[in-house]
Symmetry: C2
């Protein structure tokens, strides 16, 4: 595989003191309700409100300084955008971010506030890749891919190293990990770290209905696409298909995909509000939603749910509170 545990250890060194060490939380009441032990890796508390900062910062760390200084390019529905924008700001280099025009207002505003140039495109018409390639050719920018890049996957994989350390501190050994999956940068990196630490661990992707390309691909043993007509509120993970590198890792390391409805995602956001005091976004909460909705039974087991982001507009959060 193209990404090794050594890559993730190096990323961990690069991120030390730069990324937040996010907590592994648990709620006695949720444990009682589920009949097992649920540990929540609260990556919504990461800088920029999602895990994406890790991969972005790790990628910029590994770049040639002269090339880095020419500027960074990224395309993203919002979380990768903010991660790249902050990493570029911390390195003092310019960033251009290509975002879908229907991305949450909060994510567009935040990205601009980190000092990046934001270029909008139509998610269901134009190709962000084509726009990106033009900017790379014209301006000499370097693209930081949202997931299908070794340095990005290695950065996200540091979440797995932290889960290993933090479960050890709690004298817990995880039987199962559930992780939101879009392109798969987070889950593939995490799977390398955790499969190296725990032989028998099961790692499941969690996706929104209609965007279950990981579930389909894992069943088929090759990359499949999701329903092109589907829509979901889980904006952060609406990718049509797993990445090439991420799927090559995933098909070795991942167990069956879990799927949740938008309603179940909102219910999990409400539970995160009430029981964990976390602000989670719909796409970031699919793993917690899959466990709460019983897509996987954790009775008598120790499970880790990764909450991958919290960048949600107040209007959407209100829908969760109103349930």
């Amino acid at each position: 595989m193209q990404v090794t545990i050594d890559d993730i250890w190096k990323a961990s060194a690069a991120l030390d003191g730069q990324a937040a060490l996010t907590p592994l939380l648990e709620s006695p009441r949720l444990n009682e309700r589920l009949g097992g032990r649920l540990l929540v890796k609260a990556e919504c508390l990461q800088k920029t409100g999602s895990f994406k900062f890790r991969g972005a910062y790790n990628t910029l760390t590994g770049m040639d300084p002269d090339i880095r200084a020419r500027g960074i390019l990224a395309y993203s529905s919002g979380n990768h955008a903010q991660g790249v924008a902050l990493a570029a700001k911390m390195y003092g280099v310019p960033a251009t971010i290509i975002m879908p025009s229907d991305a949450p207002a909060l994510k567009k505003r935040n990205t601009a506030e980190y000092g990046a140039d934001v270029v909008l495109y139509d998610r269901f018409g134009e190709s962000r890749e084509a726009i990106g390639e033009r900017l790379v050719a014209e301006q000499g920018l370097t693209l930081v891919k949202p997931y299908d890049q070794v340095s990005v996957i290695a950065g996200q994989g540091t979440v797995g190293l932290e889960i290993e350390e933090q479960t050890a501190e709690l004298a817990a050994e995880p039987d199962v990990v559930v992780c939101p999956a879009g392109g798969g940068g987070l889950i593939s990196g995490v799977s390398i770290a955790l499969k190296a630490a725990f032989d028998d661990i099961d790692i499941h992707p969690a996706e929104p209905e209609g965007f279950d390309d990981w579930r389909r691909s894992l069943e088929a043993g090759e990359r499949r696409t999701a329903d092109p007509e589907a829509r979901s509120i889980c904006d952060a993970i609406l990718t049509p298909t797993p990445g090439e590198i991420t799927f090559e890792i995933g098909r070795h390391h991942l167990s069956r995909g879990l799927v949740v409805s938008d309603r179940e995602a909102l219910e999990a956001m409400r539970t995160a509000f009430l029981e964990l005091k976390l602000v989670a976004e719909p796409g970031g909460v699919t793993a917690l939603a899959a466990i709460l909705a019983g897509r996987i039974d954790i009775a008598g087991r120790t499970a880790v749910a990764i909450v991958s982001g919290g960048n949600v507009d107040p209007e959407v959060f209100r829908q969760a509170l109103d349930l």
Copy 2:
């Protein structure tokens, strides 16, 4: 003083592996807005949604097992109630909690769900102390006070030890700490820990308008009471006067009191939602509110704001989102 740094170290050992190690978070955007470095101790992520679990668990740890087995009594607007209820459950002993009938529904329900007997009283009519003394006499229960008790203050003081360790990991030295203050268990414990670590640190209580008994008492050099006609949404910290033990500590260690309006508390809850992805309750967010509202200037300084709790009903949280 009745509470020593040794008491807090012992409490830290008792809580190791039982209490959550809550993160010290920061937002690059908030830092930029404030012109300083703001570190947020997210104690809303503690078990039961507030710091109160620390003092309760530490107190039960120090009790004679036979006396503990007879049962625990507490009176509380809600956060201490939940902390005591969970600590009692973890020790397998019964708990009776006396709560004001106008406490948030969430806090009443959660306390009952931890298995405690909940007894309601009228906050503006009856005396919770009188009810409590009767139950102690009749049933042989042991009272765990909400703040004015050495073991409780020592438990809450572990928040200060963690701030010391976590700022060191960030290579930061705090110039100023702002902490919500009701009876003062948290701020007095924290002040002992942090004054032992940092000679020149300023520690300020933050209170809601009309309940500025700490501000008045520190100015007068002796315990004063707040306005008896005042009302506020900051339910967790609506105490009429500082505790005796907590004020004896506070008058040596604390700097001037800061006061915020209910509106400023709601605005800080909104900022915690947007920038930190934390669910904070009105009484738990007064320190952050005081900094955001400019009650103290942190430009060029490193400040720690303690967010002490997140047990807020959805209806109140909606008010913050709607601002």
